[in-house]
């Protein structure tokens, strides 16, 4: 078994991550307005940074998996587990650094990260489930991205 036979050239993860980032843009106004009502300008900035962090986290994870999938199955395992730890460390360091800034609301920042991450995944899962379950009925995000 070779890595080439297991890994098609299409980066499915990147297509999904791009779609997730696009969805993050769609929900951004609602989240920013909610944060503004809750805590003012500082909370809006914190929520905005949280949204950017979530999108970058998805894109980095997808890029890493897509790169490792072209190498070997062992590389996928190492990249996923190592990437999980590395991204968690980077995220923690980033939030700690941002929490030191006066106008950043750390609680709003971490809540935005966690809630947006889960919300976007649930949204995306609806599309992917349909795509996998009934590809003829709804080509879905992966098919569209390949065509693009």
């Amino acid at each position: 078994m070779t890595a080439t036979s297991m890994s098609p050239p299409v980066a499915h993860e990147s297509a999904i991550a791009a779609q997730l980032a696009r969805h993050a843009l769609y929900v951004a106004p609602a989240i920013l307005i909610a944060a503004g009502i809750y805590g003012g300008a500082g909370a809006v900035i914190s929520a905005g940074i949280g949204l950017v962090i979530v999108a970058m986290n998805f894109l980095a994870s997808a890029r890493l998996i897509a790169w490792a999938a072209l190498k070997s199955p062992s590389a996928v395992q190492a990249a996923v587990l190592g990437g999980f730890l590395a991204r968690l460390v980077v995220l923690t360091a980033l939030v700690f650094a941002l929490a030191q800034v006066n106008f950043i609301d750390a609680v709003v920042l971490v809540l935005t990260i966690a809630v947006t991450h889960l919300g976007l995944l649930i949204w995306e899962t609806r599309y992917v489930s349909l795509t996998l379950g009934a590809p003829g009925l709804k080509p879905g995000v992966i098919g569209r991205s390949e065509e693009e």
Partner: protein, 86 residues
């Protein structure tokens, strides 16, 4: 009087220290579960891809979402860490 003031001050510091230690333990514990979960997801995805290489696309798609969902647990531990730390 000085001893009483010192004891009160130390009690406050002790509380802060213990809450920080508790928050750190909570975050660490919250990161262990997702680590195991991601290992299971990826391991099974690799097995599935080895069994059916032609299905590796959908398998990788599902694997990516599974990893992201499992990672959300660690993020909730992260939120808990900040809330506990105050």
């Amino acid at each position: 009087m000085h001893d009483i003031l010192l004891a009160v001050q130390q009690a406050g510091e002790l509380k802060d220290g213990l809450s920080s230690i508790g928050a750190g333990i909570a975050y660490g514990a919250a990161a262990i579960g997702p680590g195991i979960g991601i290992g299971i997801v990826v391991g099974n995805a690799i097995t599935a891809m080895a069994r059916q290489p032609e299905m590796s696309g959908p398998i990788r798609t599902t694997m990516f979402l599974g990893i992201a969902f499992t990672e959300a647990l660690a993020l909730f531990g992260f939120v808990l860490f900040f809330l506990a730390k105050g």
